[in-house]
Structures are given as structure tokens and as C-alpha cells.
């Protein structure tokens, strides 16, 4: 029982946390970009499911993991296009459309999976762990942290890219302005709608990638509802991270740590803490964070509001 406190255990835990956080990191950073442009996409769950399924299907057909990942991203963006059309062009309520997207994602993936794949019972190859030279030789942590597959490592790259995009590119500057004061962007001669479309597509593409990781980098099978709420948790991560990509990375890691802890606890039945306590912790912490930071203080001012040109 005391092995819980050893360094080795801690290292394994951290490694698992990073792996479990990976889909959250992709989805939440995507959602940061979308929400920074003023678009709240509660359809992330359905979008991630599409990514998970299409990634699986493409990899199943071609045997290629990169193609699977690309299919996951494309599927996410296809759903993003539907979401963007209804929320930006039709100017419909973002929550309502998001709810529809979730139903569509859940239904479509389960329908197609049951129709074509469930009887095959076969899985796909999943991405293999890659040792990072030197780092993986570090004592204790090296082995556990730096023997992951490339998709897990790429979360760092995605975070860095998101920071560059949001804070170092002209596109990101305008995008942040779109979520805060769209009229100013309009007067400066840029199309608010185009930027929102762009933000939603990037966001849903990343959500699709996060979903595809589940089938191509984590388990080798698609299961109905495989995302098990990660799309919703990503929404919470964004709030908790106060709309910052780096924040989203670390908050996702924290949530990943809770997942890992909870799995470990389930494997250690003699411990007297119900694993559900750790399951519930991220959600409780999100609520506490909302209370502490105050609802609107860090949120883009026009989050959830369609832009009216007049």
C-alpha cells in the first residue's frame, strides 16, 4: 500500500497523466481558440466522437496512423463547418446548435460503427511509444515520461503553435479582437464572420485530433461514446485555464492526473478512498474556479453572441 508514495509510482502516474490528458489538451486548446473569437462550442463532445470514429475507420481501411489522424481532423472540421454555418451565418443560438451537434456525433458514430465494424471485432495498430534519447535516460521520470507515442509529445508542439498563433500572429491578434470587440474589427476592414469560421475550424480540427488520439494512440478500438464526456470537460478546462492555451495545457495535465489517480485507486482496492472522489474532483474544482475567478472576468466579452453588422 505504501508503494503509492514511491518515486517510481509517481513517475508512472505522471506518464499516465500526460497520456490521459492528451485528448483534453487538443480539444481544450482548440476551444480556447474558438472561444477567443467569441464562439462557444458545446458540441465538442460530438465533434471528438466524430474524430475518434473517422480516425479509426480511416486507419482500419488503410492501416496508416497518419492518415487516420488526418481523417480525424477532417471529420472534426466537417462538423465544425456545420456548427459554424448555423451559428455564424444563420446566427442561431450557439448552445442549441452545439446540443444538436452532440446528438449528431453520438448518433452518427454509433450508427456507422454498429453497421460496419462492430461485428469485425478487429482493432487497429496504435501509435508506438518512442524513446526520446537522453531525456528518457533520466532517473525515475525519464522512462515513464519520455516513452510515449508521438501524438502525446505533439501536445507540446500544439501548445506552442497555439501560443504563436494567438499572440504572435496577425491572425491571432485579430481573432482575439473578434471575441472582444467585433465592431472594431469590422471597422478595421476585416470580416468578423471569416475569422469566426477560421477559429471554429481550427478548434474543431483539434477536437477531431483529440478524438482520433483515443482510437489511434490510446485504445486500438472504437467504442460507442468513447470520449465519455471529455468534450464537456474540455469546456471546463477552458474556463479553468482562463482562456489561455498554456493554461489549458497544464489544467488538462492536472485533470489527466486525476484520471490516472482514479485508475490507480481502482487497482488498489484495499485503499479506503472511493475512486469516484477523484473522478468528481475535476468537476468540483471547475465550479470552485468559476466562483473564485468570477464568471465573466476573463471571458471574451462577446462570447456566445452572434455578430450583427448593423
Amino acid at each position: 500500500m505504501l508503494d503509492i508514495l514511491t518515486l517510481g509510482f509517481l513517475a508512472t502516474l505522471l506518464g499516465a497523466a500526460w497520456r490521459l490528458a492528451t485528448p483534453l489538451i487538443f480539444a481544450s486548446i482548440g476551444e480556447v481558440i474558438s472561444e477567443r473569437a467569441g464562439v462557444l462550442n458545446i458540441g465538442l463532445e460530438g465533434t471528438m466522437l466524430m474524430g475518434a470514429f473517422c480516425g479509426f475507420a480511416a486507419s482500419f481501411a488503410t492501416g496508416s496512423i497518419p492518415l487516420g489522424l488526418a481523417a480525424g481532423i477532417a471529420a472534426g472540421m466537417a462538423f465544425g463547418l456545420i456548427f459554424a454555418f448555423f451559428t455564424i451565418t444563420v446566427k442561431a443560438n450557439q448552445i442549441v446548435v452545439g446540443a444538436a451537434i452532440n446528438l449528431l456525433g453520438l448518433g452518427l458514430t454509433a450508427f456507422l460503427f454498429r453497421t460496419y465494424y462492430v461485428s469485425t471485432g478487429r482493432g487497429v495498430d496504435i501509435a508506438r511509444p518512442v524513446r526520446i534519447p537522453w531525456l528518457s535516460d533520466l532517473p525515475f521520470f525519464g522512462e515513464a515520461l519520455f516513452r510515449q507515442n508521438l501524438i502525446v509529445y505533439s501536445t507540446v508542439l500544439v501548445t506552442v503553435l497555439a501560443v504563436i498563433l494567438l499572440y504572435r500572429s496577425s491572425f491571432g491578434l485579430t481573432l482575439r479582437a473578434v471575441g472582444d470587440h467585433p465592431k472594431a474589427v469590422d471597422v478595421a476592414g476585416r470580416s468578423v464572420a471569416a475569422y469566426r469560421y477560421g477559429a471554429v475550424l481550427i478548434g474543431t480540427g483539434l477536437a477531431g485530433l483529440g478524438g482520433a488520439f483515443l482510437t489511434l494512440g490510446h485504445s486500438n478500438q472504437f467504442v460507442e461514446g468513447i470520449t465519455s464526456g471529455r468534450g464537456f470537460i474540455a469546456l471546463a478546462v477552458v474556463v479553468f485555464a482562463r482562456w489561455s492555451p498554456v493554461g489549458a495545457f497544464f489544467v488538462s495535465l492536472l485533470f489527466g492526473l486525476f484520471y490516472a489517480l482514479q485508475l490507480q485507486l481502482q487497482a488498489q482496492p484495499m485503499l479506503n478512498i472511493p475512486y469516484q472522489a477523484f473522478q468528481a474532483l475535476p468537476y468540483l474544482m471547475t465550479i470552485v474556479a468559476l466562483i473564485v475567478v468570477g464568471g465573466k472576468s476573463a471571458a471574451p466579452r462577446k462570447l456566445g453572441t452572434p455578430y450583427d453588422e448593423r
Binding site: 446566427k91 442561431a92 446540443a99 446528438l103 449528431l104 450508427f111 468528481a280 468559476l290 468570477g294 464568471g295
Partner: protein, 366 residues
């Protein structure tokens, strides 16, 4: 040309205002029914295309899903049984949405209600059913109302987005239920995680002997009517709507916006909690980890299709129950995966949204 325009142009009709009023009521009702009906038709058509594309018989959508489910008496009672939680939750959400409170947490509120109802239902042996059944139902409603009220309180007191908090509370309720049925409330004799069985006296009586249909369907329809009357005929409901339309005007009129928002969250939560109570006390008689197949989320679509009108929720709740039963039947008869229903629901919502936009657009341009 809309009906109102025709009426306004026909100035001569002013002599018979009652006729005109009736005419407009009919026109409004026609629009209120025709558009959702068109949305459902579009969704079913999309479903048929999807089936045809994937090697099934597209015509099944109509044959099985709509007509097939009415084949015998028992299947009709099963539809009504499924309609109970959908109508309850949908009608309750109408109140929340009318108050501009985006309660996404009906699923969690349903679980909170189911847990409370179970707690009461397994604790008092030998109570008279006349007392016990109402007690269980009230406990469920209270549990849901408190769960919804938490999100309302966080919104009013801390401006915490109810969208996020209700989603979080969903998970907390689901995880909490899972803990209860695997831990403190677990029936030690059962292999599967579940609570002890509710005492017989706490069971909701059947409406029709020999079927699973219980009196909950009557309660659901009655409560939907009550909520309609509340929203459109009572002073308190008027205040709820005013707060939802324009909080500034509500303050100007002397209303307490926060109190109304709390009320809307508690009412919608209470309805969802009651739905949970009916599931345990009327159908399963035990608490399980996944007692709801997503009724709470489906309720959002029910309210939306009803145009946030509790009366409409009776119809749309019934319709969604038909779709749900139909898709189950399709799975049995034609091996079409049952989840087709989710796809159809999603398309229904998007169609409703698109129609609303088409109605607004010409006005915007002018």
C-alpha cells in the same frame, strides 16, 4: 405575406375583432405546429437517405418508426412510458429557457431526483402507499430542484455561467450515483451494482394492469399543463418571462431578477428530479448507475421543438418517445442501429433553428 399582414391590410375586418382574434390564434397555432412538423419530416427524410446509403431499406423510417410502433396496445403503452420523463423534463426546461437560463443539467437533476427518491423509497417499510408514493415523488422533485438550484445560486451570486456549472453538476451527480450504488447503497446480494429494491408501497401504481405504464404519464401531462398555466396565465410566470426577455425592464418593473432565475432553475430541476423519481419508483424499482439513457439531454431537444412552450412539450415529448420506440423496433426488425434516433433528433433541432432564421431574415433586410 404573413397572416398578420393580411389581417392588417383587411381593415374591414376590424368590425369583427373576435373573428380576427380567433383567426390569428389559429394562424399562430398552425405555424407553431407546421414548422416543427416540417422539421421532423426533413429529419426523417435525412434518416431514410442515411439508411439507404448504408444498405438498409430507407422506407423503414416511416414504416417501422412511425407506423410500426403503433402496431399493438402494448407498444403504445411503452411509448407513453418513455414519454413520461421526456415530457416532464421538456416542460420544465421550457420554464428555464424562457427565463434565459441555459440549463444543460437536466440529466444530473434527474439523477439527483432518482437518488433522493430511492433514499426515501428504501427507508420506511410499511408506510401506506397513499403517503409513501407522494413522499417518494416529492423527494425526487426536491432533489432535482436543489441540484438545479445550486447552478441558479452560483449564477445569481457569482455570475458563474450556468452552462458550465450545470454540465459539471451532471457529472458530479452521475459519479455520485455510481459511488452510491457501488458503495453505501449497494445491495450486497446483487452481482451488479444496484441499490436495494424500493418497498412495494413506494412503487408508483400502474395505470393499466399488465403493462409497465404507470400513472406518471397522467402526472406528466398534468404538470405540463400546470407549467403552461404558470408561464402564461400567472403573475409569477409573467415575471419569469420578463426576466428572460429583458433583465433591465424587469428591474424597472420592480422584479427581482435573481429570485426569478432561481425559481426557473428550481422548477426545471424539480421536473427533472421528478422524472428520476418516476424512473426508480415506477419502472426499475431500484437505483442503477445508468438509469437514464440521456433523457436529460433529449429534454433539451423536446423543449426546443416545442418552442419553449410546455403545452408543446407534451406533443414533442410524445413524438420523441415515438422516435425512440421506433428506433428500438427497427433494431429488432431490420438490424438498424437504434442510435438512429439521436441523428434524427439532431437534424430536427438544426431544421427548427434554420426555420427560425428564415422567418427572421426578410424582416432584417427591410
Amino acid at each position: 405575406m404573413t397572416m398578420t399582414q393580411i389581417e392588417r391590410d383587411g381593415r374591414g375586418a376590424a368590425a369583427v375583432p373576435i373573428l380576427r382574434l380567433v383567426g390569428r390564434a389559429v394562424a399562430r397555432a398552425a405555424v407553431a405546429v407546421a414548422l416543427p412538423a416540417a422539421a421532423v419530416a426533413i429529419a426523417l427524410a435525412c434518416g431514410a437517405v442515411l439508411l439507404a446509403l448504408n444498405g438498409f431499406d430507407g422506407a423503414d423510417v416511416v414504416n417501422v418508426m412511425i407506423l410500426g410502433v403503433f402496431q399493438d396496445f402494448r407498444s403504445v403503452t411503452e411509448i407513453l412510458l418513455k414519454a413520461v420523463p421526456l415530457i416532464l423534463i421538456g416542460a420544465g426546461l421550457c420554464v428555464a429557457f424562457r427565463c434565459n437560463m441555459w440549463n444543460i443539467g437536466a440529466e444530473g437533476q434527474l439523477y439527483a431526483g432518482a437518488v433522493s427518491a430511492t433514499l426515501i423509497g428504501i427507508s420506511f417499510e410499511g408506510l401506506s402507499p397513499w403517503l409513501y408514493v407522494p413522499a417518494v415523488l416529492v423527494a425526487g422533485a426536491l432533489g432535482g430542484a436543489i441540484w438545479g438550484g445550486i447552478a441558479g445560486f452560483l449564477k445569481v451570486r457569482f455570475q458563474a455561467s450556468e452552462i458550465v456549472t450545470t454540465i459539471m453538476l451532471n457529472y458530479i451527480a452521475l459519479i455520485g450515483t455510481s459511488w452510491l450504488v457501488t458503495g453505501p447503497m449497494r445491495d450486497a446480494r446483487a452481482a451488479y451494482p444496484q441499490s436495494a429494491r424500493l418497498f412495494r408501497e413506494a412503487w408508483v401504481p400502474d395505470l393499466i394492469a399488465g403493462t409497465r405504464l404507470h400513472i406518471g404519464i397522467l402526472v406528466a401531462v398534468a404538470l405540463a399543463l400546470v407549467l403552461y398555466v404558470f408561464l402564461y396565465r400567472s403573475s409569477a410566470g409573467y415575471a419569469v418571462r420578463v426576466v428572460g426577455i429583458n433583465p433591465h425592464a424587469a428591474r424597472y418593473a420592480g422584479m427581482n431578477a435573481g429570485r426569478n432565475m432561481m425559481a426557473a432553475m428550481c422548477i426545471s430541476g424539480g421536473m427533472a428530479g421528478l422524472a428520476g423519481a418516476f424512473e426508480v419508483a415506477g419502472v426499475t424499482h431500484r437505483l442503477y448507475q445508468n438509469i437514464s439513457p440521456g433523457y436529460g439531454f433529449e429534454g433539451i431537444a423536446v423543449a426546443l421543438l416545442a418552442g419553449n412552450n410546455p403545452l408543446g412539450a407534451i406533443l414533442s415529448g410524445g413524438l420523441f418517445a415515438v422516435l425512440r420506440s421506433g428506433s428500438e423496433l427497427m433494431q429488432i426488425t431490420s438490424q438498424v442501429p437504434q442510435v438512429l434516433v439521436s441523428i434524427i433528433q439532431g437534424i430536427v433541432i438544426l431544421s427548427v433553428v434554420a426555420f427560425a432564421a428564415i422567418r427572421i431574415w426578410p424582416r432584417r433586410r427591410s
